[in-house]
Amino acid sequence: MFMIFGIPGPLLFGQLLLGLINGAFYAMLSLGLAVIFGMLNIINFAHGALFMMGAFVSWMLLNYLDIGYFPALILAPLLVGIFGIILEKTVISRLYKLDHLYGLLLTFGLALVIEGLFRNAYGSSGMPYRIPSVLQGATNLGFMYMPNYRGWVVLAALFVCISTWAIIEKTSLGATLRAATENAPMVQAFGVDVPRLITLTYGGGVALAAFAGVLAAPIYSVNPNMGSNFINTVFAVVVIGGMGSIMGSIITGFALGVVEGLTKVFYPQASATVVFVVMVIVLLVRPRGLFGRTA
């Protein structure tokens, strides 16, 4: 067995892979946040709560309607996305012309309300959600046993992230969306229904969070606090990647997952703070983020 920095090689590779898997969650969540901020200029603090709702809706679908994991992967984002659209139409859209801070405060308040309601109804211990039987078990990779479900999470997250990036950067719909955020009146003059586009974009970002929630449900217990555990790190990821950059948040999400994984091996006590240390360094050296566009 060979040693790298005093750690056995197989253990290090195992930790890198685990870091990639965590990075998949960061990438998915920060993608939704980046889409909402980049396109709508709203700092969506409710993102963590909506991620939690995605997990809870998939649990409810299983327990009340006997609808399994794979249909829930489509249904839960749809349902939570519709809820997001209702939120946008009723409260969030009133704040577009105001300072960013109002959007932050409103969505933070929404997050507290949503989490409180779920905590009231279901307690904070959490609900069990089984890994679907076709994804159970583990594969021996030689240097570690990798649970098949975690491998699935990485693949699903990569697929969704790249598809979203492709839609926004490479299709005409994405081009219209990007144009609408730069100059809404001009795009409206072309006959495009900009408010509806923005509403659907918010719904889309929310659906991404809910999709991550469904992916997370079998791994972390489905409890009302699961969103608030992630949201701070995800915000740091978005800031490091660059607030408006889609590809930036995907790459940074995976990269920071790996950085965090390596910290857990060498100095576990710092594994929660290392992301913020990186964020401080990036803000000092390159304030617009690693992939951000200058204003």
């Binding site: 930790q15 211990s125 217990s221």
Partner: protein
């Protein structure tokens, strides 16, 4: 009167505040044995458990069953560190070894995969989980996911019946844990549970819920005996009165409160039932060992409590 205060770091911080204001502090939820040891206070009573009792009961049982090498997964704050320390002392005293520990940031860690893989590569026979609540549920769930439970025994040092419910019996079945209350233990606990269930229909009480009831009831009995005006004036006097009166209720039966503020309730080592063994809702525990109150806790002299005159 200040009741419950889970989270050991907060509980410890409040000791001096309560002492300064001369109020009554009945802690149920926090675990640190330092609360009746180096950080003790004459205004304080620790009601249903502490880290020493958990280590002695769960740790002792695992070492006896052959688990003589341990690796700890520890929440990196007051409670986790105290629990790890108490359990390590016990393991070493029983002839075992501690092969390592992974202290993880608390709160906020949801993914334990990295630490679990490190634990597995240490070669220890027992994985000691020095954490609670959502962390314990997640670490056990993920230990199953990574197949850790096939090569190591899992020792959940602090776990409640509500956590077992969150995990489900197919994952939690076979786990060994210590509580001082179980709803189906005897007629008294069943009567209490019957009274409480209509108010919390989705939740059966664990030792913390029962402890809050028991502590409040005993406090009110003491206040009734002293008169409310006297009780309000002096927290130390009220606590001394509570210590002088024997405690008795449906939840814990009879117990006495020691001079350092330790309520000596019995501790029970339970094994979680497998799905096949469970016959009804929340029918989760088999009783393995009952330790009477006077044997379950750290001896008074070892606590070095400053206000006790030896």
């Amino acid at each position: 009167m200040l009741l419950d205060v889970p989270t050991s770091s907060v509980a410890l911080a409040l000791q001096s505040v309560v002492r300064e204001k001369n109020k009554v502090y009945l802690n149920v939820g926090a675990a640190s044995s330092a609360l009746t040891g180096s950080q003790c206070s004459p205004n304080f009573i620790h009601w249903v458990y502490d880290t020493y009792m958990l280590s002695k009961s769960t740790g002792g049982a695992m070492v006896k069953a052959g688990g003589d090498s341990w690796y700890f997964l520890t929440a990196d704050y007051a409670f986790g560190k105290q629990l790890q320390e108490d359990t390590s002392t016990l393991v070493k005293a029983a002839g075992g070894k501690v092969l390592g520990a992974a202290p993880y940031p608390f709160p906020g860690t949801t993914d334990f995969s990295s630490f679990l893989v490190q634990a597995q590569s240490s070669g220890a026979k027992v994985l000691g989980l020095c954490n609670a609540g959502g962390d314990t549920v997640n670490s056990i769930k993920q230990a199953h996911e990574f197949g850790i439970n096939s090569s190591m025994q899992l020792a959940a040092m602090l776990m409640f019946i509500t956590d077992v419910h969150a995990l489900g019996l197919d994952v939690a079945g076979g786990l060994v844990l210590t509580e001082s209350f179980y709803w189906d233990l005897n007629d008294g606990t069943r009567a209490f549970t019957k009274r409480v269930l209509p108010k919390t229909p989705k939740n059966y009480p664990n030792m913390i819920h029962a402890g809050c009831y028991s502590a409040t009831l005993h406090y009110l009995k003491a206040v009734a005996a002293m008169g409310a005006a006297e009780a309000k004036k002096d927290g130390v006097a009220t606590v001394n009165r509570m210590k002088a009166m024997p405690v008795e209720d449906d939840c814990f039966g009879k117990s006495t409160i020691r001079e350092d503020g330790r309520n000596m309730v019995a501790s029970y080592l339970f094994e979680v039932k497998t799905p096949a063994q469970s016959k009804g809702p929340w029918d989760y525990y088999n009783l393995k060992v009952a330790t009477p109150g006077n044997e379950a806790y750290r001896p008074l002299a070892d606590g070095h409590c400053s206000f006790i005159k030896t």
